[in-house]
Amino acid sequence: MNTRQTLLRRGLISLSLSLSLALLPGCQDSLQEEVYSFVSADNFYKTAADAEAAVIAAYQPFTSDDYFRRNFYNVGLLADDQVMIGRNATFQAVDNFNITPDHPFHTALWQQMYLCINRSNTGIQRLPTISMDEARRASLVGECRYVRAYNYFNLVRLFGGVPMPTTEIQSTGQTNNPKVPTDKVYEQIVADLLEAEKVLPLTRPAAEWGRATRGAAQTLLAEVYLTTERWQQAADKAKEVIDSKQYQLLPDFRSVFSISNEANAEIIQSIQFDGPTIGTWFASFNHAGGTDNPNCFLGSANWSVEQKSDIWLNWDSKDGRKAASTYDKFINKAGKLVSVFDYPQPFPGFGKYNAPNEVSNGNSPCNPIIHRYADVLLIFAEAASQAAASPPPAAYDAVNQVRRRGYKVPLNAPSEFDVPLGLSKGAFRQAVIRERSLEFVIENKRLFDLMRTGQFPAIIKAQGKNVREGATLFPIPLSELNSNLALTQADQNPGY
């Protein structure tokens, strides 16, 4: 073997050995994971921008499939007495209010609500340590309180007492929270909203439309008081919103829901969807007639009118809201008037949500409305009447404004369509509840009205629905019961 070969050989060996040895210490460090595409919680919540990002995150679950894109409405609408579905056993179980604790819809909804809550808790806990403009910081914390309160309000109404974490959860040791009785949940909601109304702005710049305002917090608080039958407080809070003069009834009922006019003067709080990037399923779900229907990508009749319901059987045709809210005939894409009963899903549709240029089902830009001014008026009417010995004139005036707008007559002049004077407290309340049932068709308020007035689920049972025996609330999801060590089967709601 010549020298060159020997040298080459030695060179190769020493090269590879030194490579190997050089790698060794470096490798030890390389077992620490290097992150590139996300941040770790320890490096965050330091700046004003971080604070803004944390608050956006608290709202974000609202736009998920399982919350406002469709599932919250699937749960709330199908269970009520106005909406039904003609197929699909999973949906029909909700329609019949005969679900098991492992049903996917309420489980997924529960999860999204607590996602909002944990992110709000994070904001409430972390933001005060960030050094930034103090007023802005307080306002951001106020938003978190609003989001937290709204979610607990939904939870307590659908499920009764629920686990109620109010601090950020970071590790497994903090995940097991016991069921808290309903009155404690309401206490927390009220406390949050009283804080929020102090710090939230009266109005928002255009770029922040959709974020909570003082009016949103106060309207929510009024509804919370109404639900807990704190009548005077409900009436007072609603009155505060009315007196703020920030909101008004639009003259035309349909235009409240027009997708070209979503930031209108009647809206107090809505969830924003642009359609193509993130859209709701509302237009396709509330229409019938498949692709013949020009008002959506395809009318899939997921929410059809229950033909045994009061709104289908007894709604006065002179009320403009009727045609804007339900139909059994529509003009198809060919321009012909056709009947929904000639379609494979032969059920009347709702016409409230329309998106004629929707690119696909699930891409409607319709913004689900949490509160609008009509709500404030009707909360005020009901609460003011309940708080008094008999319905006061202001209560009549509030409910009649809503009616007159529906009947397309001047808002401030008495009309033949007004609620008749001289009703008893009970009859007046019934009239307001019915008014709500007409005004808010498929706005996800009916089920909660039925629940708080004790009519649920008797009213759908009377329609012949195969209702689960003994159930009045939704079941705590099975996966929560199974995984929350602070809960036992005894915490499950009756009937499950």
């Binding site: 620490q32 965050f44 944990n118 686990p163 009318g299």
Partner: protein, 1020 residues
């Protein structure tokens, strides 16, 4: 294609520069005989030792070459022992080759080394190149199907280049990877089967490697064999070895085949007239006065959508390889072009690849072994999504058979405008032709291994390698798709894995009785992955596809990501043999992985095995009919680190929402995962007891293994209280047990002069059981199957197999309309009745029960090789028993028109007002959707003629064609016969792959093909 030719030309030039002709001094002639029957052996290789000079024997076993008198000739032939002959002054010689006792002396590739078959203590199965070449395959692991006991090959979809899952002795993992580790020429590669992306079924990363190059595949099954791979060994290891050059004259081989694939079967569905009758019947049942088809003659067209969608598709493959070299420098170089069109129009897979394997002896002590493969594959994926409604096959099944494909103006007919049809369907041809989804993958897998022998006993190997791949997916929804305004997206990804291994080996025979073989070393492997995506929609024209995103009016949010993981390991193994009959193997590996939590960075994986070669004992010498008998047992611990990157960290991710009057996207940051600093590998403890026995001079070989695998510390998304704002945390919790038998038997049934018949049978049982899950109720569900099912059909429940099926049980049809006191108060006469299993007097979700399982009890393969003179016939049967499939297609296709879609042909056996038969197979036509019941869970057992090949070896020697070494032509057929009761396209189906817990689900999956091919192989 052009580029490929250029590569090949370059390679050819390269080879000829390596060839080094040597000239001898005297002419030598000779003849080579077979030791088994003393007949002349054609095709045997005769090489002058230490040179590249040599020849092969002709049809009469004769050869001629020139050599110096001092030369030694090496004579070799497959199946015979190599024999060396010192030439001396002889010019005419005769050589008789003794038959190789193959099963014992063949070399088996094991982790970080090789062993003789007789010394192996673990459970290792081998598949030869010959077996792999018997049928056309896209990807190496397909060659394992039906050939190795204990290995289940799940062709999850039959799309060209589609994902294939391999389970060695059952699945161990619920959430982690279940695929075995592949070691390709020494480079460990995890074949990460993607999950369903909602557009197409997952693709197969291993399809980027040309299976023609493979010379053997070894499947390491028990812990004794796999523990040396530590945290990656739990799912078994498949070692792939490609062809390397041998010293001797240069050889050139050319292979080609061409075939045609057709859909194996079409589903029998209603024709146009029957469809209209059913639609009218449903309308009457619903009391509708206007019938959807009052006049059937106004719908004269009847379209068979399956006929429109499926095509006879060609498949072709060409491979050219060169090998040879001298004692000091050997090469094997190959190029391959593979092109498979899919039976669904618009789909297909193409691959071009080049491999260079070089072996160099630098000096007496130093040698270098290099393997480089480069490939480019192009996968045109059909839209066979698991999401109902947008899959192309699913739409071809459900679409009304009335619609023409095109309108008069050439646009696509909108199938959902047909009366009575549910509005969800899309024209299947539009989906096939106007949606394009192309994945291009470029991959280079290269490694070089430098070995320095300090002494004959002690050697050090240093391996350096890289696995680089870049891929790009282009997706375009054309404007011709209903509702589409043109939507383009591009995803690119780039991954690099670096490898360094440093292995010391020591082999020593001490005295007559002790043999020692020790291996130890340290290895490092690191992977970096980055991705980038962009999209745009609202195009004015379809002209650009994905080539001009800025032409779209609405750009989407761009995306990018980067991740990294590394693995650092120490390993060691000692094989000790006493008197050649008591064998002991002890191995251990310590793995440090970046994926593990800070509290659990290092894992230790030991194993031990004992084997007793009973046949070597003196008392067995008298038992002449047993030629070999070995008892084996092993125990060991292996891990599974396929838990994903960054799973132990507390992560904040971006979330997108909408705000503002203009409804603009806004980005927030939220904690999306809870930290788990204790996160670690999954641990599998495996016990194996086995027996290898050969009878009648190794004419019959039997191998039997029993194993139990207990996997603990199961990686699980353990549900935490959802009220915490998290739904789950990744924990090591829960356990699964797999146990079963692997049996394989092969033998030479006939061995005459011209007639030889070998046959083999392998079968394996596997029982898979969830021992514990980390949920209080002892069960949780797999994710939902999308609409119209809207429910999970798989459940993970203690005491049951993983992903067991779950649903209602049917109980005939209702004879009368039901009332308030009924189990189903709203049911009408003729509707489906279900069993009230919990006896509460109502049919609710509580009446669901376990209905079966997706994984088989038994898998088996049957092989036969029959040789008669120059002809041979190879057959492979293969099957599974005891598996079930959720036929989700039938959820729509047999809902008796509830959703207005086309129906299976036997829907005619239904309840009607004229024939009120409560025993009919199907209920009345109505709007009532079926529940997820036993009707949809079908027996997916099957027995299949996987492959049959008839070949003819031309007697090139007797033809006097000097330049031709060998020539073979063959015809073969795949999937020509399948016996099954499954009513869908094919029982071998899974719309999901990888770690998806939804298993055994058929939702518009790409159907299986039947294939005829003809091919030839030429050796020069």
């Amino acid at each position: 294609m052009k580029r490929l030719y250029a590569y090949l030309a370059l390679l050819i030039t390269l080879c000829f520069s390596i060839l080094n002709p040597v000239f001898g001094q005297q002419k030598v002639t000779g003849i080579v005989f077979s030791g088994t029957d003393n007949s002349p052996l054609p095709g045997a290789s005769v090489v002058i030792k230490g040179s590249a000079t040599g020849t092969t024997t002709d049809a009469n076993g004769r050869f001629t070459l020139t050599a110096s008198p001092t030369a030694t000739l090496t004579v070799s032939f497959i199946g015979y022992q190599n024999t060396e002959v010192v030439l001396g002054n002889r010019t005419e010689i005769s050589v008789t080759l003794a038959a190789d006792d193959k099963s014992l002396n063949e070399v088996v590739v094991v982790g970080y080394g090789t062993q003789k078959r007789r010394d192996v203590t673990g459970s290792i199965a081998s598949v030869s190149a010959q077996a792999i070449k018997e049928m056309p395959i896209t990807s190496a692991e397909q060659g394992l199907q039906g050939r190795v006991a204990g290995v289940q090959v799940i062709q999850s979809n039959s799309a060209p280049g589609g994902a294939i899952s391999i389970r060695v002795r059952g699945g161990n993992s619920v959430l982690g990877g279940n695929e075995p580790l592949y070691v390709i020429d020494g480079f460990p590669v995890y074949n990460s089967i993607g999950t369903n992306d909602g557009q197409s079924q997952p693709t197969n990363p291993l399809a980027t490697i040309n299976p023609n190059d493979i010379v053997s595949m070894e499947v390491l099954k028990d812990a004794s064999a796999t523990a040396i791979f530590g945290a990656r060994g739990a799912n078994g290891v498949v070692i792939i070895t490609t062809r390397r050059g041998k010293a001797g004259p240069g050889t050139v081989d050319f292979e080609a085949y061409y075939g045609v694939q057709t859909v194996r079967r079409k589903l029998p569905l209603l024709n146009g007239s029957q469809y209209m009758d059913l639609a009218n019947e449903k309308a009457r049942n619903l009391g509708q006065t206007t019938l959807p088809f009052p006049d059937k003659s106004s719908w004269p067209v009847s379209t068979d959508w399956q006929e429109e969608l499926f095509q006879a598709a060609p498949i072709q493959n060409y491979a050219l390889s060169f090998s040879g070299g001298s004692e000091t420098s050997r090469y094997a170089i190959s190029g391959n072009w593979f092109d498979q069109q899919g039976i669904v129009i618009g789909s297909g897979f193409r691959r071009g690849s080049v491999r260079v394997n070089m072996d160099n002896t630098i000096s007496r002590k130093l040698s270098l072994s290099t393997s480089i493969t480069a490939s480019r594959s192009i996968n045109q994926q059909a839209r066979t999504s698991i999401n109902f409604g947008n899959g192309v096959v699913y739409n071809a099944l459900i679409s009304a058979p009335l619609a023409p494909v095109y309108n008069a103006d050439g646009s696509y007919f909108r199938v959902n405008t047909i009366p009575a049809t549910e509005p969800f369907g899309t024209n299947p041809l539009a989906l096939a032709q106007e949606f394009s989804n192309q994945l291009v993958t470029n991959r280079i897998l290269a490694n070089t291994n430098l070995t320095y022998a300090f002494s004959p006993e002690l050697a050090l190997s240093v391996r350096l390698g890289i696995d680089y791949s870049s891929d790009r997916t282009d997706r375009y929804f054309s404007r011709k798709l209903p509702g589409s305004t043109g939507q383009a997206s591009v995803f690119t990804g780039e991954g690099s894995t670096y490898l360094n291994e440093n292995i010391l080996t020591y082999k020593k025979q001490i005295g007559a009785n002790h043999s020692l073989d020790a291996t130890g070393g340290f290895t490092w492997q690191e992977s970096v992955f980055s991705s980038l995506s962009a999209s745009s929609q609202n195009f004015a024209v379809d002209l650009f596809g994905t080539d001009n995103l800025s032409a779209g009016n609405s750009p989407g949010l761009p995306g990018s990501g980067r991740s990294k993981n590394s693995l650092l390991s120490w390993l060691g193994r000692v094989n000790y043999g006493f008197k050649d009959r008591y064998l002991l193997t002890v191995s251990a590996r310590t793995d440090g992985s970046s994926r593990f939590g800070s509290g659990n960075k290092w894992g230790f994986f030991p194993s031990a095995a004992l084997a007793w070669r009973v046949s070597e004992e003196p008392f067995m010498k008298a038992v002449s009919w047993i030629s070999d008998l070995k008892l084996r047992t092993s125990i060991g611990v292996t891990g599974n680190q396929e838990i994903g990157n960054y799973q132990s960290l507390n992560r904040l991710n971006t979330v997108t929402s909408i705000q503002g009057v203009t409804q603009a996207p806004v980005v927030g940051f939220a904690v999306t995962t809870m930290a788990n600093p204790d996160l670690k590998w999954e641990t599998t403890t495996q016990y194996d007891a086995g027996l290898d026995v050969s009878f009648l001079n190794s004419r019959v070989n039997l191998s039997l293994d029993y194993y139990v695998k207990n996997t603990t510390d199961l990686l699980a998304q353990v549900p935490v209280a959802i009220s915490s704002g998290f739904s789950s945390i990744l924990l090591n919790s829960g356990s699964i047990r797999n146990q079963g038998f692997d049996v394989s038997i092969d033998g030479t049934i006939l061995n005459r002069r011209k007639l030889r018949w070998n046959a083999g049978l392998n079968l394996s049982t596997n029982q898979n059981r969830v021992q514990s899950v980390a949920v209080r109720g002892g069960q949780f569900f797999a994710p939902l199957i999308t609409s119209p099912v809207d429910l999970p059909v798989n459940i993970i429940r203690e005491g049951q197999p993983v992903s067991a099926f779950f649903g209602y049980v049917r109980d005939g049809l209702w004879g009368e309309d039901q009332g308030a006191t009924s189990l189903m108060p709203n049911a009408r006469a003729g509707e489906q009745r279900y069993k009230d299993l919990n006896g509460d007097g109502r049919i609710t979700a509580d009446d669901r029960t376990i209905l079966g399982k997706p994984n088989p009890d038994l898998i088996y393969g049957l092989t036969s090789q029959l040789t008669y003179g120059p002809f041979d016939l190879n057959i492979l049967f293969q099957g599974v028993q005891g598996a079930m499939v959720f036929n989700a297609n039938n959820f729509t296709l047999s809902d008796v028109f509830a959703r207005g879609n086309n129906q299976v042909a036997d829907i005619t056996d239904r309840w009607t007002t004229e024939n009120r038969n409560v025993n009919a197979k199907y209920p009345r036509a109505s709007s009532v959707s079926p529940l997820v019941s036993d009707r949809f869970f079908e027996d997916a057992s099957y027995f299949r003629l996987r492959n049959i090949q008839l070949g003819y070896n031309l007697p090139v020697g007797s033809l006097g064609v000097k330049w031709l070494r060998s020539a073979r032509v063959y015809v073969s057929g795949q999937n020509l016969l399948t016996v099954t009761r499954y009513t869908g396209f094919d029982p071998e189906v899974s719309s999901t792959a990888g770690s998806d817990l939804r298993k055994g689900v058929d939702i518009g999956a790409y159907p299986a093909a039947k294939m005829w091919t003809a091919g030839l192989r030429l050796g020069f």
